[in-house]
């Protein structure tokens, strides 16, 4: 690097010396940032308090309830389908209408136990 180039760089460094920000800018910026931080904290706390009352958050609560409901409905459906499959066998073996009803109930209970074991 030539001496002239180094000298010019030195001048450039002086010309582009760092500029101190005005004191009032520093104070204003700190105030603005502090307000934003406070707002964000208040928002977080307000959200916690209102989360149960806000319909937009109901989905969070409803999700497990819905899962249990949907799961139960599916289990009941499975019991019914399995019991229904055996209806011809029950009809052939039953001695009468009362006996058929009794056999159907027993099958329902048996299938319910099996599904309960499988699912839960």
């Amino acid at each position: 690097m030539s001496e002239q180039f180094a000298e010019f760089e030195n001048l450039l460094r002086k010309a582009l010396a760092p500029v101190e920000p005005p004191a009032e800018l520093e104070a204003r910026l700190e105030l603005n940032l502090a307000s934003i931080v406070d707002l964000a904290t208040e928002e977080l706390e307000a959200w916690e308090l209102s989360s149960m009352g806000d319909p937009r958050n109901w989905t969070r609560i409803a999700r497990p309830v819905a899962a249990v409901t949907i799961g139960s409905a599916a289990a009941v459906g499975l019991v019914l389908v399995r019991t229904q499959r055996k209806r011809h066998k029950r009809r052939n073996e039953a001695a009468g209408a009362v006996d058929l009803a009794g056999r159907t109930l027993r099958d329902l209970a048996r299938e319910a136990r099996r599904v309960a074991d499988d699912v839960f």
Binding site: F8, K14, P18
Partner: protein, 184 residues
């Protein structure tokens, strides 16, 4: 609520880190803004906007920086805002940089008397440089950033940045020589 307590602690840590970043780099952002826009009034606006913008994206920047310094990221925000500033207002820094800039810089009185004309000529020359060269010089000399930091702020390679700075100085030298006239 344990998770919200954790969130609050995380947020407090983040705010502390941002406060440290702000304290460490307020002067850098202000200097950069000042030399970009050429007056204190707009430099204050630009600095304020830069830090507000930075606060919004600080968490992600901190995560993605993987421990590297965040100054280039801050300066890049200021750079983008300055570009918007000129685009929105359809203006360029036509006027020379306020004398107040040179006067507020940490020079001794002797320096000022001796070099004042030279410094004015150089500042006027800096304003005539293409945007990328001007910015590179501001980052190098006003902020003391090294090639790697400047490269990150400008989105270039280290090698390309080194060449950019060298060419910027050469071009500025030419501009200043022409301005001095043949008798200089």
């Amino acid at each position: 609520m344990a998770s919200s307590e954790h969130t609050r602690e995380q947020k407090a840590r983040l705010d502390d880190a941002f406060s440290a970043l702000y304290k460490a780099h307020l002067r850098d952002v202000y200097s950069y803004s000042y030399y970009r826009v050429g007056n204190h009034h707009d430099a204050e606006d630009l600095t304020e906007q830069t830090f507000l913008q930075a606060y919004r994206h600080f968490e992600r920047a901190q995560r993605e920086s993987e421990g590297r310094p965040l100054r280039p990221w801050l300066i890049r925000i200021a750079h983008n805002l300055a570009a918007n500033y000129y685009r929105d207002r359809s203006r360029k820094p036509q006027t020379p940089i306020d004398d107040a800039g040179v006067l507020s810089a940490p020079h001794t009185t002797e320096d000022l008397v001796e070099d004042r004309d030279d410094l004015k000529r150089i500042l006027a020359g800096v304003q005539q440089l293409p945007d990328d060269r001007r910015e590179a010089l501001i980052m190098r000399f006003a902020l003391g950033m090294d090639n790697r930091e400047i490269a990150r702020a400008l989105g270039r390679t280290d090698g390309a940045t080194k060449v950019l700075i060298h060419r910027a100085i050469r071009q500025l030298e030419e501009i200043v020589k022409q301005d001095e006239g043949p008798d200089a």
